[in-house]
């Protein structure tokens, strides 16, 4: 691209691939015949609030912080497990404080949102063919949900059932 995409005050020249169409126009300059003066709107920093779907997208991306939070907690637990029963009991006690419980509940809601939105998008990205025919989108999403429920059950059994 040959054009200058960074001009001032919202007035820009735009590259057209091959030709450089520089008319030397700056804001306030006189109109020049045969040299169109493009107007490019600047994008507001609040663009993501202008549309529900944009806000949902940004929220989906931000909830990945909660996913990282739980991954960190999990690594912390595994590390403590390796250090012995005393260290693990210490971690469990820390996770039982009111602040940790509130963080976990909020984080869990955010992770739920993250999971559900991604699973609903999965059929668009995955083209699954069984004996030449494309599997319908809802079945791809359903398979993701089924795997989620199954793995959650295994984890729940491991943490809750194994203690008894």
């Amino acid at each position: 691209m040959n054009g200058d995409m960074s001009g001032g005050a919202g007035l820009h020249h735009v590259g057209d691939g091959g030709m450089t169409r520089r008319a030397g126009l700056q804001p306030g300059h006189a109109y020049m015949r045969y040299h169109p003066k493009w107007y490019r709107r600047r994008m507001s920093v609040w663009w993501w609030l202008q549309k529900g779907s944009y806000a949902q997208f940004v929220l989906r991306e931000l909830t990945s912080v909660a996913v990282a939070f739980f991954a960190f907690i999990f690594l912390w637990q595994v590390w403590a497990l390796g250090q012995g029963p005393q260290a693990y009991a210490h971690v469990v006690a820390r996770l039982g404080t009111p602040l940790a419980v509130v963080l976990s509940v909020v984080g869990f809601v955010l992770v739920l949102y993250h999971t559900v939105t991604w699973f609903n998008l999965a059929p668009a990205a995955m083209v699954v063919r069984v004996s030449g025919r494309r599997v319908p989108g809802w079945m791809v999403a359903a398979a993701n949900y089924a795997a989620w429920v199954l793995l959650s059950a295994v984890v729940a059994w491991f943490f809750l059932g194994a203690n008894q």
């Binding site: 169109p36 493009w38 107007y39 997208f57 668009a124």
Partner: protein, 247 residues
């Protein structure tokens, strides 16, 4: 039913004003009129200086895309009755530089489109004596949906990444690249991957998904891009893990 409806139309006359302004027009409100009919009425009867693009009036040429009440629409398919009682806000496609009134500069888009080689690439053409390149119905189905694109650019106007990153190749161009990648007659996929595997290409897409929601031809560019990402990632993994012969 009201007999008239008001349109608030963006005007930009670069020889007169530094930035766009809004002008309102009142036009007859008819059930069978689309926004484009209203614009034509304004141009014929009220203000001949109003500039906009249009051609076929039936959702095929892809020229009349504009923002109608904030959403990218083909104005030949946007019925006034869906926006009653008005006023109907008509703006040029967002994220494109405005040349005049409702006309945007599409030079950047055409450059991006050409970059992805949206045509059948052959290493060697089959001689005429061997006849045409035949395809089974399944081979056609593999790319047919993506071939319905009319280059109307509504998807570019729906995509915030296009607005934030002006170098992003964008939905339609990547979907068309994928359309040719999936075509059994094409052999240009490896060349396109080199062009589209950088940050300005498919990885620039963050899957907002609005491109597919506004597409008047149900092309689903968002799906095309995600499928392209998945194929590329799987191919890269294979190239690391498998011996050369079995890839």
């Amino acid at each position: 039913m009201a007999s008239t409806i008001t349109l608030a139309v963006t005007r930009y006359r670069p020889e007169e004003e530094a930035e766009p302004t809004v002008e309102t027009y009142t036009v007859p409100f008819r059930k069978d009129w689309v926004v484009l009919d209203a614009l034509n009425h304004i141009k014929d009867h009220q203000d001949g200086t109003l500039s906009y693009r249009w051609s076929c009036r039936m959702g095929v040429c892809g020229s009349c895309g504009m923002m109608v009440n904030g959403s990218p629409k083909l104005t030949c398919a946007a019925f006034l009755s869906d926006y009653a009682p008005g006023p109907v806000r008509v703006e040029p496609l967002q994220f494109f530089p405005i040349v005049r009134d409702l006309i945007v500069d599409i030079g950047e888009f055409l450059h991006k489109l050409k970059k992805v080689k949206p045509w059948i690439v052959r290493a060697e053409e089959q001689p005429l004596s061997e006849g045409e390149y035949l395809q089974t119905p399944d081979e056609v189905d593999a790319y047919k949906a993506f071939s319905m694109c009319i280059n109307c650019m509504l998807c570019y106007s729906a995509c915030p990444i296009v607005g934030l990153e002006s170098h992003f190749t964008g939905p339609a161009a990547i979907a068309l690249a994928q359309r040719y990648n999936l075509d059994s007659r094409d052999q240009g996929a490896s060349g396109r991957v080199e062009i589209l595997s950088d940050h300005e290409g498919m990885w620039g897409c963050t899957f907002v998904g609005d491109c597919s929601r506004v597409c008047p031809k149900n092309v689903d560019p968002a799906a095309a891009i995600q499928q392209y990402k998945l194929t590329t990632a799987v191919d890269t993994l294979k190239s690391w893990l498998l011996p050369r012969g079995s890839r």
